[in-house]
Amino acid sequence: MIEVRSLTKRFRGCPAVEDLSFDVRPGAVTGFLGPNGSGKTTTARMILGLTDPDAGTATIAGRRYRDLAHPLREIGALINPGAVDPARSALDHLRWLAAANRIPVGRAELVLGQVGLDAVGGRRVGAFSLGMRQRLGIAAALIGDPPVLLLDEPINGLDPEGIHWIRTFMRSLADEGRTVFVSSHLMSEMALTAHELVVIGRGRLIAAESMASFTARVDSSVRVRTPQLDVLAAALEQEGATLWRSGDALDVVGMPIEQVGSVAARVGAVLYELSPQQASLEAAFMHLTAQSCEYTAAVEAA
C-alpha cells in the first residue's frame, strides 16, 4: 500500500508536483501515467525518499521511506537502470544490496534466476545491454522480497520477448497480493497490464481510478464535423459540454450524442459527421491531459 497525501514539490519556484493525493492498493497493477515533465519521476523519488517534498507525505504501509529500517524488504524500486557501478558483476551488485538490508545473500542468485540473468551473473555490468540492465534493476527491486514494488519505465530497452515477460511478471506479482506501481509512457502497454490508473498532468492529479472507469470517460465522446465549427462549439460549451478540437472536427465529452445533434439543429449547423468514439486508454489520456501537456502548450505559444 502506497499512500500519497497532498504531496507538493517546487524546483526554483516552478511547481513540479502540486497537492497530489492518491492510494496504490495491493493485489493490483497500478499504472502511473502522465506526459513528459508531468512530475511522475519527481513523485516516485519523493515516495522513495530521494527527494524531499516541500509539503505533504508519501508513505509505504503507513511509514515514510526514511523511517524504514530495512527499506528493500518493504518496497522494491526500479528508478534508473543505469544506477549500477559498471565495474561490478551483477551478482556482486545484488550481494551488496542484500548485505545492506540483512537479506540472505543466497537471494542474489535466486532473483537473478527470476529475471533470467543467471547465466551472466558473474559478468561485469558495464558489458550489459540496456535490456539486461533493466532486468538487473528488476532483480534488485525483488532482492528483499518486498510486498510493494515501484517500477519507473520498466519496459524501456526490453525486446518484445522481454516486454511480454515483464507484463506477465507484474501481473503475477500482483496476483500474489503485492502492490505494483508502474509508470510508463506507453499507453498500449499499460492498457494490457494495469488494473488501476493514476494519471497526472503538470504535477496535478487528473484521475485515480480503475482502468475500466477511466476508459469509460471517453465512451461518451462524440465526434462532430461541421463547417460552422465556431458557432456549434460556442453553443455546445454553453450547454456544459467539454470540447476538444482536432483539425476540422470537434470531440464532445460529457454530452449524449442525441443532445449534441439537437444543439446542432438548434443553431442550424450543417453536420458532415456525428459519431460516437471508440474508447481507448490513449484517447482518454489525450483528452484528459491535453490541457496540461507541456509540449502542446509550448507549440501553442510559439
Binding site: G49, L50, L68, P71, I79, V84, A87, L97, A99, A100
Partner: protein, 254 residues
C-alpha cells in the same frame, strides 16, 4: 552495522581496493629508494656536521609524499564514482540515512587506508634504511623518534584518505575533487616556495604537505608545527571539509 556491511561488500570484490594498497606501498618504496640512493651517493661529500644533521628517518620515509596521492584518490573515488555512475541513488534506496552511508564509507575506507599506510611506512623505511646503510647513514629500527615518525606518517596518510572522501562528497566529481586534492598537496607548496622567505615561514607551516613532512621527519623544524600539532591542524581542515561534504550530501539530492 548493516551500512558498514554494505560498504564492505562494495569494496571487497573490486580490484581497485587491493590495487590502492599495492600502489600506495609501491609508490612509497620507489620514491624512498630513489631519494635514499641519491643521498647515499652524495654521502662521500658530506662533512661531519652535515652527517650529524642528516635526517635518516625523514629521508627513508620520503615515499609517503607519493603514497599520499594514492590514498587520497582512493578516498575521493569512493564517493565520486557513485555519483558519476548514478549508483548513489541505489545506495540511498538501500540506506536512506545518508549520514550513515557517509560514516560507513569513512569507516571502511580509512580501514583500508590504515593497511596501506602501515605497509607503505614500514616498507619505505626498510628500503630507505637498507640503501642509506650502504653509506653508513642508516639509524636502524631502534632510532629515537622512529615510532613517532612511523605512527604520525601513517596517520597523515589516513587523514588524507578521509579528506579525499570529504572533498568527494563536497564536489561529487572525480575530476574536480582530484584537482583540489592535488592542488592542496602538490601545487600549493610550489606556489608558497616562490614567495619571500618571511612569508614562507609564516604560511608554510599551515600547508598539509608541510604537516606531512614534519610527521615523518626525524628532526624538528623551527618554522613548522610540531608533528602532532600539525596533524591536529590537518584534522581541523579535514573536519571542516567533512562537515561541508556531509551537509551537501544530506541537503542536495543526487
Amino acid at each position: 552495522m548493516s551500512s558498514l556491511s554494505m560498504e564492505w561488500h562494495k569494496l571487497l570484490p573490486l580490484h581497485r581496493t587491493s590495487r590502492t594498497v599495492a600502489v600506495a606501498i609501491g609508490l612509497a618504496v620507489v620514491v624512498s629508494a630513489v631519494v635514499a640512493a641519491a643521498m647515499a651517493g652524495s654521502a662521500a661529500h658530506m662533512s661531519a656536521v652535515e652527517r650529524g644533521r642528516f635526517d635518516s628517518i625523514g629521508t627513508s620515509l620520503q615515499g609517503i609524499n607519493a603514497a599520499v596521492l594514492a590514498v587520497g584518490v582512493f578516498g575521493v573515488l569512493c564517493i565520486t564514482r557513485e555519483y558519476a555512475t548514478g549508483m548513489i541513488t541505489t545506495t540511498f534506496l538501500a540506506q536512506p540515512a545518508r549520514l550513515r552511508v557517509l560514516a560507513a564509507k569513512l569507516g571502511t575506507h580509512s580501514a583500508v587506508a590504515c593497511i596501506a599506510a602501515a605497509g607503505a611506512c614500514a616498507a619505505a623505511y626498510a628500503v630507505g634504511q637498507a640503501l642509506l646503510g650502504t653509506a653508513g647513514l642508516s639509524v636502524g629500527w631502534g632510532a629515537h623518534n622512529l615510532a613517532r615518525a612511523l605512527g604520525a606518517g601513517a596517520l597523515y596518510l589516513v587523514l588524507i584518505c578521509v579528506w579525499g572522501v570529504a572533498i568527494g562528497a563536497l564536489t561529487r566529481s572525480s575530476a574536480s575533487a582530484i584537482t583540489w586534492l592535488a592542488s592542496l598537496l602538490v601545487v600549493a607548496p610550489v606556489i608558497v616556495q616562490i614567495l619571500p622567505e618571511s612569508v614562507v615561514h609564516l604560511v608554510g607551516r599551515w600547508l598539509p604537505s608541510q604537516v606531512g613532512m614534519q610527521a615523518i621527519a626525524g628532526h624538528s623544524d623551527p618554522h613548522s608545527f610540531a608533528p602532532w600539532t600539525g596533524l591536529a591542524v590537518l584534522t581541523g581542515y579535514v573536519a571542516a571539509t567533512l562537515v561541508a561534504g556531509a551537509w551537501r550530501m544530506v541537503r542536495v539530492d543526487p
